[in-house]
């Protein structure tokens, strides 16, 4: 039943729901995100049964919340609802104290950066920025973006663990971004 709606975007599905008030559209939308949300809840709760229950509660919450507000970006909204639900559940559980300060808001990575337009970045700036990174970050970024190696390939070709590879790429990219933004400010 759900495959026949594959060509319809999330935005169109939710528009159909607002126009027709038919829960069928929410059913299609929820079905799209079940696996992803289960993964998110599992990541935070680290328990298969709790993750399953959490996803169902998130959907039930979504059923009551969506008709009340206008949701334009369902994907980021449902992620935020699920993440907040898990973090609140962890906070309420006495055995799992967790720091929440930075976690209760969803921000899309790179939102604030204007570096995506190719013409805004020069090769010289990129090469200089890359050279300023520490050797591990430089190495991982080159393998990942320039040689198109996967995390597993990088682990196999270096002495780094999977976690180190991810961290070197993430931190390296962030440092490079900061360097380029600084250059833009200086210009």
């Amino acid at each position: 039943m759900v495959n026949e709606y594959q060509h319809i975007s999330d935005k169109e599905l939710i528009e159909h729901f607002y126009a027709e008030k038919d829960n069928k559209w929410l059913g299609v939308l929820f079905h799209r995100y079940t696996l992803l949300l289960l993964g998110v809840c599992m990541k935070y709760l680290k328990d298969e049964d709790e993750a399953k229950d959490a996803v169902q509660q998130v959907f039930i919450k979504a059923l009551t919340e969506i008709p009340k507000y206008r949701i334009d970006f369902f994907k980021s909204w449902i992620y935020m609802v699920a993440k907040n639900h898990c973090l609140m559940q962890l906070r309420n559980s006495k055995n799992n104290p967790v720091a929440l300060e930075d976690n209760l808001e969803y921000t899309v990575a790179d939102n604030d950066l204007q570096l995506k337009k190719e013409q805004e970045i020069s090769y010289e700036q990129l090469e200089t920025g890359l050279a300023k990174l520490n050797p591990a970050q430089q190495h991982c970024i080159k393998l990942f973006y320039l040689e198109k190696k996967s995390y597993a390939d990088i682990v196999a070709n270096t002495n780094y663990t999977m976690l180190e590879v991810k961290s070197h790429i993430q931190n390296g990219k962030r440092n490079l971004k900061m360097y380029l933004l600084q250059q833009k400010v200086n210009d």
Binding site: T34, G39, M42, Y44, Y79, E118, S150, A152
Partner: protein, 126 residues
């Protein structure tokens, strides 16, 4: 080797939507290498995708995960169907009241018509 600008420029496939099968293939290390890299690049930009895959990797077996997805989808479908059924029932329940209201309004109109007719006849009597 790719252009150095690939670090910050998205390819045409950067907004690709991943099917459940492809995500499961990634977990099982059977996704083709080029798709694997593309997915990992998207994971860096999309915290939702990143969290989801990290969580999926924590499942002991794929069967447990698939079973959980099936259970959730079935329960939600049942809930949505039940809601729809109740809405329909409620609308049928309201039907006699709607019919009664229409009848009363029609009755008042007919009565009003006759009263006005009688009044007009009375007024025109010599």
């Amino acid at each position: 080797m790719s252009d150095i600008k690939a670090i910050f420029t998205s390819s045409d496939d950067a907004s690709k939507k991943w099917s459940s099968d492809e995500l499961l293939q990634y977990i099982k290390h059977t996704l083709p290498p080029e798709k694997r890299v593309l997915l990992e690049q998207q994971m860096l930009e999309d915290p939702f995708l990143n969290d989801a895959i990290e969580g999926m990797q924590q499942y002991k077996t794929e069967q447990i995960m698939q079973q959980a997805v099936f259970t959730i989808n079935t329960n939600i479908k049942d809930r949505l169907d039940e809601k729809k059924r109740l809405q329909k029932k409620r609308s049928f329940k309201d039907l006699p009241w709607i019919a009664l209201t229409i009848l009363v309004v029609i009755g008042l109109c007919v009565a009003g018509f006759f009263i006005i007719q009688q009044y007009l006849k009375y007024m025109h009597k010599p």
